[in-house]
Symmetry: C2
Subunit: 333 residues, 2 copies
């Protein structure tokens, strides 16, 4: 196999940020992806319709002239039914962060019990719930500990579409098959790395993210689900740019910047595991079906031509910086 | 309790380095400690008597005019009986590193089977074996996986004194009680931190070390053993300075620099847990008995007077930089 053509690739979890950072990173996604889910954890968060519409306008300015559908999200709070009804045509879902669990999540949900009324309203209006599913427990256990919460929400609101964002554990993969209304996204790095890559040799701040990369058996389960294009799993890069001075620092911010190299790396990974035929489903078809979206037409052709990842994009160091990939994007139409 | 006097505190695991770094860090240990075990993983390693004696001379120059006994170690290799006999009066033990497992350990032991002949010679000559006990497995499992190796060496060489260096797991603590010839050191940071402190919030390169900090239940077991002055456990800081540009970097070197603040932090920790009466045993008496050493007399008095840890010593950022400790050293005599 020397060429792969993907139709309308989607990235169902992206951090576009704002201002200069958005101007840097948003075009890098919009060039090769046909659409993506834009996270709302800005400062202040995107938690009302005015802010969301203004942010969407800024996104369109940043990605111009690329064709790209930004699927907008609201930051979970106690929304009224009227607010949800007004927001519904403009959003793909509402993102719930337990308070303080990741970058700019300080205003997140402190008690999931208190969130149930809004979940019921979302269920009634058929608005998906996207969740950063971690407890505040020991870092390696946070996702596994949160799974009972997913179970309880899934049972209590059987018609609420729930997306377990950026899953990192074998247990989360297993849970996908137990509840019809549970779905998931998985990042690029969690298909490839484990905690060993972050902290097993020299410490690598550029691979530090939340949820943190887990054990080899977790990575293997995620990879298997992706390679098989598990029908309830979508690609969501969680591409999260931070300037280099916030990564190579005493207190290193969480996030791996993968958007511009995600498609070549996925091509390499799926080819290596003889699963190229499943890449279209993983990168777009599953998401179209799960979220009910119809992205703009975009044909991305990748060829088996070596490509060396830049050391940085602006002041952001990407995943696999300076490494040479076997695949590269040769045409976008 | 407002003052604690410690007699001849010992640090049974220190990295003094060489050159400028040794001139910076060695006096900081020698000021408040009466002696310590000096690690041999230099480049090239301290693996012959000439190099060891020259290094010892350099250590004495660096610590002058402080009174401090440097207990020297050789880097494990295939030593002949004659070499071991010649070295014995000058060393406290031989340090075994599995190849490539930590800083400057590339020349370590690739096959433990091949090391047995030297271990037999060491046993016959009553030379202690100090071990960096990690496999090359998943980073959180490396010490636990190595415990069977400790067991097998302890059984095969019942008269060989073995020190499990810088233990980090509850399982290693348990192993102490199962073999008479097994002993251990524990660092300052492993009594205090878990992986959560390294990678649970922002990533903290200054808390990254090998073995990596483990789970809360591991930290609790280590702390309990230290607070009870477990008779087979000595304090060994594993104080491991790296210049700031090697810590706050894309590839961060492993090591926490604790030597200059170890005694105040231990005073605070033992007082907080109402175990001050056991600190003398943990910080000196156990080591004197286990290693058969008689350090120079040094009385270190600590008082409950707040002390703010410097942001750096030279170009090295210490553990608890900028934090205010409740205890400080008020007199050394």
């Amino acid at each position: 196999m020397s060429s792969i053509t993907l139709t309308s690739p989607l990235d169902m979890h992206i951090h576009f940020r704002e201002g200069d950072m958005m101007n840097l990173v948003a075009p890098l996604s919009a060039e090769s992806f046909a659409g993506g889910v834009i996270m709302p954890n800005l400062v202040p968060p995107v938690d009302n319709l005015d802010r969301l519409l203004a942010y969407k306008t800024a996104v369109f300015q940043a990605i111009s002239p690329h064709t790209f559908d930004p699927y907008m999200t609201l930051f979970f709070r106690d929304y009224s039914e009227a607010e949800l009804e007004a927001a519904k045509p403009h959003i793909i879902g509402i993102k719930l962060y337990p308070a303080g669990i990741t970058t700019n999540s300080e205003g997140g949900v402190a008690s999931l019990k208190d969130a149930e009324q809004v979940m019921a309203r979302m269920e009634a209006l058929n608005i998906p719930l996207l969740v950063h599913g971690e407890t505040d427990g020991f870092v390696m256990d946070r996702e596994a500990e949160f799974l009972t919460t997913y179970e309880s929400i899934a049972k209590k609101f059987p018609n609420l579409k729930i997306v377990m964002e950026h899953i990192t554990t074998k247990k989360a993969v297993s849970l996908l098959d137990q509840f019809e209304n549970l779905h998931a996204t998985v990042t690029l790095q969690h298909l490839i790395i484990t905690l060993d890559d972050v902290a097993g040799g020299l410490l690598n701040p550029h691979l530090f993210c939340k949820p943190i990369a887990k054990r080899p058996e977790d990575r293997d389960a995620l990879l298997e689900a992706a390679l098989n294009a598990h029908p309830k799993l979508s690609f969501g890069s969680d591409s999260a740019p931070h300037p280099i001075h916030k990564k190579e620092a005493a207190g290193c911010a969480a996030g791996v910047f993968t958007a511009p190299i995600a498609l070549p790396v996925l091509a390499e990974l799926f080819e290596q595991h003889e699963a190229v035929n499943n890449l279209q489903a993983f990168i777009s078809d599953n998401a179209q079906r799960i979220y009910g979206v119809t992205p703009p037409q975009k044909e991305v052709t990748l060829t088996k031509t070596p490509y060396t990842v830049p050391q940085s994009y602006g002041n952001v160091v990407p995943f696999k910086a300076n490494e040479t990939l076997n695949w590269s994007i040769s045409n976008i139409a």
